[in-house]
């Protein structure tokens, strides 16, 4: 080592140019930066829907009475259930076991007597397929609602409820789950580009031994790393802008905040994302390992632990503690806000600080790991 090397802008520009060309020439880079995001946004907009509809259930009418027929008709008339009728519960039980039906309602033989007697005896029985818990509780609640509404319609003296709630949904009055999912999907895309792609690219240099070759040139470690990361930073930002444009103009998600805030958030998120990619590649030094580690420590946590699909509040305390370490968590919260609510700096500032802090820690660790690699 002949003293500290000076940071040279021209050398850096040359490095950036070389890395950019290398990135753009590989079709897999473009696949991951532009095709996959478009596919993901499309799927989050149309395929991944938390809004349940057309659940297949059976209705077993054991009672021949008119009231039972009316209730059965009430089930058939609902928007959310796809009803098939039977007269014997054995007919539908097998179809639940086979997974063809998500449950069934039994209107019992003595339904008319039960109805006349009143009291707190249940009128009908509901069997659900508990192997799909969400659908099961939907079927149970919805069936209860149908029976209650039907009974209220029956009784001439329908009691007025003592309390009613009038919900109003802010930021997403139409309650389309796609409006909440599509902004969050941008965080997933950025994680893929920032962490996954970077980890692979740098790991390849280590695996082939070309990293040492580059290191022995007059370029300093900082120049080499910045030269490697800058093109992927730019790629990530370009991909974000493309995804945001797609979200706004094609998938009809409003951007209520400013474009400047969106860009600032994305740029700051790239710091921990790139830092993680760099750290993984320096530790793994082999593409298979790097890919697996990036998948399990970057992509999957961004998917499962960021509050994008699953509520963080509902997780057990130890896992909630782990989510504090996932940079995507802060990005998802800010992305949803900038798209749906507007520029809420009270949300952005803590998120930005957290992302920057995690990024700083990751870069420090990555630097140390890179230096260690060179020393052995």
């Amino acid at each position: 080592m002949s003293g500290p090397r000076r940071f040279d802008a021209r050398r850096l520009a040359a490095l950036v140019r070389k890395e950019s060309l290398q990135a753009v020439r590989d079709p897999s880079t473009l696949l991951i930066a532009f095709v996959l995001p478009a596919v993901l946004l499309f799927l989050f907009a149309y395929a991944v829907s938390l809004d349940i509809r057309q659940v297949r259930i059976g209705v077993v009418v054991e009672s021949p009475g008119a009231a039972a027929q009316e209730l059965a008709a009430a089930f058939a008339a609902t928007r959310y259930l796809d009803v098939s009728f039977a007269h014997d519960r054995r007919e539908v039980a097998g179809r639940v076991v086979a997974g063809e039906l998500r449950g069934f309602v039994v209107i019992p033989q003595d339904f008319e007597q039960r109805l006349a007697r009143g009291g707190d005896q249940p009128l009908v029985q509901v069997i659900t397929d508990g192997s799909q818990p969400n659908t099961a509780s939907f079927v149970a609640n919805y069936a209860q609602g149908v029976v209650m509404t039907w009974r209220t319609g029956q009784a001439a003296t329908a009691p007025t409820p003592a309390i009613t709630l009038e919900p109003r949904y802010w930021f997403n009055a139409e309650l389309e789950s796609r409006r909440a999912l599509v902004p969050g999907a941008i965080a997933i895309i950025m994680t893929i580009i920032g962490t996954m792609l970077t980890a692979l690219v740098v790991a390849r240099e280590w695996e082939r031994g070309t990293m040492e070759a580059v290191m022995s040139t007059p370029a300093s470690v900082a120049e080499i790393l910045v030269g490697k990361l800058l093109p992927y930073f730019a790629l990530g930002m370009l991909s974000t802008m493309a995804a945001a444009a797609l979200a706004i103009f094609v998938f009809d998600v409003p951007l209520r905040g400013s474009v400047a805030a969106l860009l600032l958030l994305s740029a700051v998120f790239m710091v921990p994302a790139l830092g993680q990619g760099l750290l993984i590649s320096s530790l793994a030094r082999n593409q298979f390992l790097a890919a697996q580690v990036a998948l399990f420590s970057g992509f999957l946590p961004a998917f499962m632990l960021s509050g994008f699909l699953f509520e963080i509040d509902a997780m057990p305390a130890p896992i909630r503690a782990i989510t504090w370490l996932v940079p995507a968590r802060y990005f998802v919260s800010s992305l949803k806000t900038v798209f749906l609510a507007g520029d809420q700096w009270a949300v952005f500032v803590p998120d930005l600080l957290a992302m920057a802090a995690i990024g700083l820690v990751l870069f420090t660790l990555a630097r140390r790991a890179t230096r260690k690699n060179l020393e052995r």
């Binding site: 897999s28 991944v48 005896q121 249940p122 029985q125 192997s131 209860q144 699953f310 509040d313």
Partner: protein, 383 residues
């Protein structure tokens, strides 16, 4: 290349190649770890994280009434299991700010005449502002709040007819029984599915890299000049992924049974048959990706670009029934969709073999198609 290959020597050759492929994955202690440990850790972590329930949320209350029934409502809200804190606010501006900052998921606005209206026999109206950024959780919270309001409503009725205090509780008109999972434990649903997904990714990555790695490192040419046939190469490249994927999935289903008490109701052999067919079809996809990739990076990213959309459409996160019809058809071409049916059916519902066949034959068909296409692709690469 018509060379007489006596059966024993072909078998010996195959065995040697399988051993070599196994070693190339498991020789390095770090990759041995990375193949087995992270999936198991992820299973534990994510099975707790993946829940669509709502818990530990804060609710803001702007109580302009401060009367008997508003106190009753707030007290019940405070005691409700899903609420962690009730935050009293003194103005709607403050409630709005708490929602904006994401500190509360909903804010209740109780009007000044709330208790009076109820006492007069009318309907007390409560406005609920919900954070639409969390649209799904928000809807669930509104459902919970409605139940709390109904409870208070029952209290109002009881207070009206003071004599019949105890027995006038309006019972639910339906008796619900949940088959296969009486308490609707979400882990019982998520763990078998996660086992499938993690095995899917492992098998896909391993096979996608198999040929691409040899090409990148230049050892593929050596394979070309060796006496091994295309079929032998393909078999030797698939068997390690098949073994690792199958063992991984079984380990995870076993972990689910031990840790979460998931009852294993169905037939183990049917599940194993489904699992092997599933991994085989994934192996076929992985080999195709590997054959068209020139570098490991292309193979990994290609596998990823196929794997992630496949998981999203498989019905793991949200049911296939919720999708538009065209996408439902497309979902039928994804092996994971059928495997999820099989694993849920055989682990919890003890679905009989005749019904499981409905998912097994599409899986067999997909495996046949992907593997024969893999043979074509690899053969094209060999020439």
């Amino acid at each position: 290349m018509a060379r007489p290959a006596p059966a024993p020597s072909a078998l010996v050759r195959l065995r040697a190649q399988v051993v070599k492929e196994m070693l190339s994955i498991l020789r390095d202690p770090r990759s041995r770890m990375v193949v087995l440990v992270p999936p198991l850790v992820q299973l534990l972590l994510f099975s707790f994280a993946a829940t669509l329930e709502v818990r530990n949320v804060d609710i803001a209350v702007h109580d302009q009434d401060m009367g008997r029934w508003s106190h009753e409502l707030v007290a019940r809200l405070d005691g409700a299991g899903f609420v962690s804190n009730v935050r009293p606010v003194t103005g709607s501006f403050q409630a709005r700010a708490l929602i904006d900052r994401g500190e509360v998921i909903a804010a209740l606005e109780i009007p000044a005449d709330f208790s009076r209206t109820i006492a007069a026999g009318g309907t007390g109206r409560v406005q609920v502002l919900v954070d639409g950024r969390r649209s799904n959780a928000g809807q669930i919270v509104v459902g919970y709040l409605t139940m709390v309001a109904a409870d208070v409503g029952g209290e109002v009725e009881r207070a009206g007819s003071a004599a019949t205090a105890a027995d006038a509780v309006p019972a639910s008109p339906v008796a619900v029984r949940n088959w296969f999972n009486p308490n609707l434990v979400y882990q019982w649903f998520i763990v078998p599915g996660l086992a499938g997904i993690l095995a899917f990714f492992s098998a896909l990555m391993l096979t996608a890299l198999s040929i691409a790695r040899e090409r990148e490192l230049g050892t593929f040419d050596q394979l070309l000049v060796s006496p091994a046939s295309t079929l032998e190469i393909i078999v030797s490249k698939s068997l390690p992924a098949l073994a690792i994927g199958t063992v991984l999935a079984l380990l995870m289903v076993g972990a689910g049974a031990v840790l979460f008490g998931i009852p294993f109701a169905g037939s183990f052999w049917l599940l194993l048959a489904g699992l092997v067919l599933f991994i085989l079809s994934v192996v076929g996809i992985g080999l195709m990706v590997s054959a068209v990739s020139a570098t490991q990076q292309q193979a990994i990213l290609g596998a990823f670009a196929i794997g992630v959309p496949a998981v999203l459409m498989s019905g793991f996160a949200t049911p296939v029934e919720n999708m538009p019809v065209a996408l439902q058809w497309l979902a039928q071409a994804i092996p994971l969709t059928h495997f999820l049916e099989i694993v849920h059916g055989s682990v919890l519902r003890a679905t009989p073999a005749a019904d499981l066949l409905a998912s097994l034959w599409p899986l067999a068909l997909i495996a046949l198609v992907t593997l024969s296409m893999a043979v074509v692709f690899v053969r094209g690469r060999l020439q």
